[in-house]
């Protein structure tokens, strides 16, 4: 149960409504933590009951009212506590890995095409991340704490995507040979 904490971080970086958070989860934060709006609303309500966030209803004209959430001192304390907790290893789930091993029994061609699509997807994402890096962090040596945390996470994303692209290339080669023998 860490969506709670992901939301706390997001709200500490900038208060916002559930809707607004959902959009952020489609972009920046969503690069390393995903959530749908239903989940977000549910967790926000629970955190409000726990006193970790407080909501202020902001009336708007020409738009529905919104509830802007912000982190309370209790929420900030919870975040501090949680940081110190050990991270248990997250469950691994590499569908492509399963498929590769499945392809040993046939249909390597279909998988090779799929892997090629995945490679393109990851390459695209890598490109996006590198653009963000260039645009937002041209001089990474002097950054404030918030910015350097964001930069670090971005660097992680870049590493992951690079790894995927390389692996897909390797996989395509192996699958092509497998294909020849099927």
């Amino acid at each position: 149960m860490a969506l709670d904490h992901a939301l706390l971080v997001a709200l500490r970086e900038r208060p916002g409504s559930g809707y607004e958070l959902a959009r952020r989860f489609d972009r920046s934060i969503g690069f390393f933590w995903t959530a749908t709006h239903q989940q977000i609303y549910r967790v926000l309500r629970r955190m409000q009951e726990l006193g970790w966030v407080r909501a202020e209803v902001v009336p708007q004209d020409a738009r529905p009212d919104k509830k802007v959430y912000e982190v309370t001192p209790a929420g900030a304390a919870e975040l501090q506590r949680w940081i110190a907790e050990p991270v248990e290893p997250e469950p691994v789930r590499l569908a492509l890995g399963v498929k590769v091993r499945a392809a040993a029994f046939g249909n390597a061609k279909a998988l090779r095409e799929e892997v090629a699509r995945q490679r393109d997807r990851h390459a695209q994402r890598l490109d996006l991340f590198q653009q963000i890096e260039k645009r937002d962090f041209p001089d990474p040596r002097r950054l404030g704490p918030q910015a350097s945390a964001q930069y670090l996470v971005l660097r992680g994303g870049i590493m992951v995507e690079k790894g995927w692209v390389d692996w897909c290339e390797e996989a395509i080669g192996v699958l092509r040979e497998m294909e020849a023998g099927q």
Copy 2:
């Protein structure tokens, strides 16, 4: 819902009981797909109802009987079908990423220590994978289809772990600076 297919792959590689599969999921297959025994039993039963696997009760002396499962032709066909299906991007959940951004608001020291532990964990795992590589795949150029699929997945694991180790090193540096300013 891909535990089904992970189990089909595992059973095609070698038939076995639920218990035996659970142990495999703690080792080889578990490196890229995790599952507990409860989940495995549940899914096996469902797949039997669907006709994807069939079970044979094997009486044993000095041990409880076991049900050895194997993949039926219908199960094999399902696997072929599934391979060709596009892999939708798996939800990203990087707790460490969230924590790094949380650490911008305090407690960077606790996180740095935790990241160091993570680095060690990943380094250990990397070492394990590299040992397996050396032991089981000394000459990767001539492998049968099953072995080359296994090798490819292992290579993926090695890449991922290397990436993590590097990232953790980077993170420790950044957190140390953050710490100095908190």
